[in-house]
Symmetry: C2
Subunit: 405 residues, 2 copies
């Protein structure tokens, strides 16, 4: 089902010194599948995260934010699938804390040093006892197995690595993510974890995680639904001999950021490639806007439109639907006569109407591809933004009509 | 396919004195189907309209707005299906004007006295010649046939009437509408025409059309796509002996408005009942908000969510998806602990989590109905708003993946 999503194997993923992974089978929703991941992090690390803007943010999101705000050294992340622990009120917070407490006891640290994460069905009580009982049964895992352990409706694990040099010292980055539905930014992904051994101070890491998210996970949409559990966590173990990045003006900041954006973008795009029911990967690039915000508004209007997405599914160059979505994107003084619309290299519309040279067979050729770029040139400024999305198929409906049963 | 949409027959629809209807077969998209409607209006009428906010508003929308702004007496509406004449630039405006010109010649009036409307595929040149050639071939029609002549993906014509008394004088109202996809307000419907014989001055009619639209057509969503061609036109022929309504403070204003809202709401709900692929009719009622705007934001977040809509299709009480949509509706200081969520009479969630008394079978019972009310009590004010929507099925994808072919 997934669109050009290359399978990853453990030997393609860099080990991050200072991180120890382990997985367990707690039988939260289904028996005999890995549904708990523990990421233990050596002392000396820094951790920062960005979380969903959804007001019904899940209990583990609330607790992870509190624990990060407490300013203590984080020692482990504990992740479960099969239950989101969202819409569960005070009882949900207590259940999440009880899992943290159990792991803190084992690791001999304070409960605030554990960050919990959950993903799965909303509005059901978290079976915390099952998770606590499974914790001692967990076994060491590599990054590929960790990526597998956090899957829900995902059809493939999502993981990638980069290695680079900073001041002649080797630095490694490995990230994993999960998500296929309920995907829309702020944060966009259900869960994303990226770890590096590059030493970065906490305030710089906090800035870095926001900048990286805005250029990657916050640029994707499967269905316009912003999840209750979205979290993107960046871990710096500090084990590399590279210099500690203690300022956004540090010369290595931009180098590390570029590599992190690269990793996070690949993971974010992997979520779209594995979007529920996806048969096509669509890049929507909007240029020539007055601000990045209006470019994103136009890009998301296209990326969210069920009519546009079903036309992509049908490989039907019914491109009026693209103009329609641009028109209602909320750019109130948009001059449609100055706008150009391209499908890959094909100029479809300009001067407020169809390009006189446009031929249906050219549109058809691009629409039949599995990867398509929609490019909108607004002709009113220099800002630009790109959003990645997928088409809307029978299988999206099937997957989401069947999900709980 | 349509959800509890009762077929209308001509004898259920009130004739409006001062209106003459006729239809023709121009073969715009398909042969042998009525695809042109002409609504001739006697002198002495007033006409007002509200139109799509889409920046790519269609050529006929631009021209109808100009003609209404010219302040001349309107003599006829001319409507075609099969082609939206949208995204067609200056050439599209010329083609629409040529149709108006042909009809103006026949009716011996100025081109500004004709309002054109088009609905159908976007980005294709309007075959104006076919329409102009078909105009002399048209035959008299009743309101039921008129409703049929403006259908596109609609599975049933949409029309309704009311009669009332104002100062002891009989007043009649008849309205028709079309639309099944690309439905989201501002304006919400593709096309809606409501005529009454009640005498209303032009400034009052202009106020009335806005107020009526806001309570009816602007409260529906099939897919979140705001069309390029949405138009809602209110015609007063003034033929009733009832007193002329010349002020919004006139005692009959509220009486007529209530009847018009009734007609427009039935038409708007008919569009939802006939929503593309719809199997369920959902009312989303949000109460206890600080403003109508925030109530509408919450209602539309629910009404637009593909995850919520597929759960309704599946009759699956996966109600966490409702909380999730409420949470991302953009009410930034929403206190989820004060919110209550009902499915018909079943209290699903309160105090930030699931109602302890809630039973799955109660949720299941309501979800299995063909008509469902979702009620959200925000607990922060006295404002409220209701939005009507439908579920999201395989057939929505099928209809929209197949539409052009």
């Amino acid at each position: 089902m997934a669109v050009n999503l290359t399978p990853v194997s453990a030997d393609q993923l860099a080990i991050i010194d200072g991180i120890e992974l382990s997985v367990a089978e707690a039988g939260i929703k289904k028996a005999n599948r890995k549904d708990v991941l523990v990421v233990r992090i050596d002392k000396g690390n820094t951790v920062a995260g960005v979380f969903t803007q959804n007001r019904f943010c899940a209990a583990p999101v609330q607790i992870s934010k509190n624990h990060l705000d407490a300013g203590v050294q984080i020692r482990a992340l504990v992740v479960n699938t099969g239950n989101a622990n969202a819409g569960t009120g005070e009882d949900g917070r207590q259940r999440a804390l009880s899992v943290c407490q159990a792991l803190a006891g084992e690791l001999d640290c304070a409960v605030e040093q554990i960050l919990p994460f959950s993903t799965g069905v909303i509005l059901e009580p978290l079976p915390a006892d099952k998770i606590i009982q499974a914790l001692p049964t967990r076994r060491p895992a590599n990054w590929a197995e960790a990526a597998e352990a956090i899957m829900t409706t995902d059809t493939a694990p999502k993981a990638t690595s980069r290695t680079l040099e900073i001041d002649g010292q080797k630095v490694s980055i490995t990230g994993i993510a999960k998500g296929a539905g309920m995907i829309h930014p702020n944060m966009a992904t259900m869960l994303g974890f990226v770890a590096t051994d590059a030493p970065v101070t906490r305030p710089v890491l906090e800035q870095l995680v926001k900048e990286v998210a805005d250029l990657s996970f916050n640029c994707i949409s499967v269905d316009g639904d912003t999840s209750t559990n979205d979290s993107f966590i960046l871990v710096s173990t500090g084990k590399s001999a590279a210099p500690r990045i203690d300022s956004v003006n540090h010369p290595a900041y931009a180098v590390l950021k570029a590599a992190l954006v690269d990793v996070a973008t690949e993971l974010a795009q992997a979520i779209i490639r594995d979007g529920e029911g996806a048969t096509k990967f669509i890049s929507v690039k909007v240029e020539g806007g007055r601000s990045v915000a209006e470019c994103k508004d136009v890009a998301y209007a296209i990326a969210r439109s069920p009519l546009v997405k079903t036309a992509f599914f049908a490989s039907d160059p019914n491109l009026g639907r693209l103009l329609c979505a641009i028109g209602y994107a909320g750019v109130s003084d948009l001059d449609v006569d100055r706008l150009s619309l391209y499908l890959d290299d094909v100029l479809v519309a300009c001067n407020g109407g169809r390009n006189p040279e446009y031929k249906e067979e050219d549109g058809q050729r691009v629409m039949s591809q599995s990867e398509i770029t929609v490019r909108v040139v607004l002709g009113r400024g220099a800002a630009q933004a790109t959003v990645w999305t997928c088409d809307f198929s029978y299988d999206y409906v099937k997957i989401n009509a069947d999900y709980r049963s």
